[in-house]
């Protein structure tokens, strides 16, 4: 079973967490075109490799946090708070 490092509770089993999908997706302004709006809603990088995503420790402290995780190996590369900009590398 994959284990994830909650910044507040430490390493816990994957089954305690809920994945919220990719992080750092910026909502476009009200004047966005259909193309920009569609891209914002639906289109994703979906990389095979490092991915920055949001997770919630739903069955623990309930807090959201950011994670950089490799989608092929499931290795966790870094953990950082929700409001922080993405770390370098990936």
């Amino acid at each position: 079973m994959m284990q994830l490092p909650c910044p507040w509770c430490g390493v816990r089993d994957e089954s305690e967490f809920v994945c919220g999908g990719a992080s750092h997706i910026v909502r476009p302004g009200l004047s966005a075109s259909d193309a920009e709006w569609g891209s914002y809603l639906f289109f994703r990088d979906n990389p095979k490799g490092p991915l920055r995503e949001r997770w919630r420790h739903a069955y623990g402290c309930g807090q959201w946090f950011n994670l950089m995780r490799d989608t092929l190996t499931h290795q966790v590369l870094s953990v950082y708070p929700m409001a922080e900009p993405p770390p370098a590398g990936g």
Partner: protein, 416 residues
Amino acid sequence: MRYSALALLRGALSGGRSWQPAWRSPEPKAAYDVLIVGGGGHGLASAYYLARNHGVRNVAVLERGWLGGGNTGRNTTIVRSNYLYPESARLYDFSLRLYEGLSRELNFNLMLSQRGLIDLAHSRHDLDSMARWVNSMHMNGIDARLLSREEIAARLPLLDVSPEARYPVLGGFEQPRGGTARHDAVAWGYARAADALGVDIVQNCEVTGFLRGGHGEVTGVTTSRGTIRAQRIGLAAAGHSSVLAALAGFRLPVTSYALQAMVSEPVKPALDAVVLSPGTGAYLSQSDKGEMVIGAGLDLFASYAQRGSFAVLQGVVAATLALFPSFSRLKLLRQWAGNVDVVHDSSPIIGPTPVPELFINCGWGTGGFKAIPAGGWTLAHVLATGRSHPLAEPFQLERFHSGRLIDEAAAAGIAH
């Protein structure tokens, strides 16, 4: 070489020495009219229908690994067309009808077994939504019938339909034409038939980049086996579609997830239908070899690993045993996962991409196997003619900008 009872006899009398490889393994040529990237069911079917329906025979299928080694060999072999919306119903029933004649057409036994596909209702809400589901199917001209608890008990004697069951069975519905087909045979049958029409099937050939012309159009690919030029290219790479799209410089509305399945040790015939339990997230059937083939829901985070989490496996086994308590003595032989290409409306994408001369067939998510004939037929059509097949017109990439989604809640058959 045509397969027949006579050929079987000749093979037996010659001690097996009369059999020939089912397809050639040629070195790739420098150029083709059309390249298909992805040697799974959809890619091989596309190549076959390009040659058969459109006379386009200067075609190569490029496969990174081995034929049918991706999702074509990793699914639960279920075929069905029990969809809600007219657009989906037309496409998937076209696919099922092609399956019904395919063994004869390809001269390859796909072991299609239309044993019936039964969805179980575990609550009053399930009963209501299944009544709506059956009504939709009837309006789309597809066979379906509601079943009472007693009818289900007669069809599935090992199913726990007692009032004390953890998930009580209140009723359900059946698509009688649903069933299973031998998944490897679908890949091999299409490969052999395409090869016989002149298609080159090139395995162990990974696409590493796209060549572009003066107007931005694709003119070929770079691969692990050299550069190959082509006038048009079709992508049929399922969970790896986004990786290829990134190489070509665009994004897709796709997220790749791991979808798990497993088989038990083989036992005598005990289950004579495909059974889905949307409420518990388990679905199973018995293979002709006797194994119970059990499918799970998605591991709900992005993944390119062809293995799944134990937590999901545990959940689906628990659900299966709640339905069929007597299976608790079975041992699981194997479990695995495929990387599925999930889009927001659970409907496929078959048509042009933002890159000229580059076309795509993806987004089948958790249900690509049943759609192989239709996916191949419609991708071949757009590759040969430049125009979308009428069945594929609603399933264009552009719908994610226009907002005309086909939110096919019945796509998975179970909650993912």
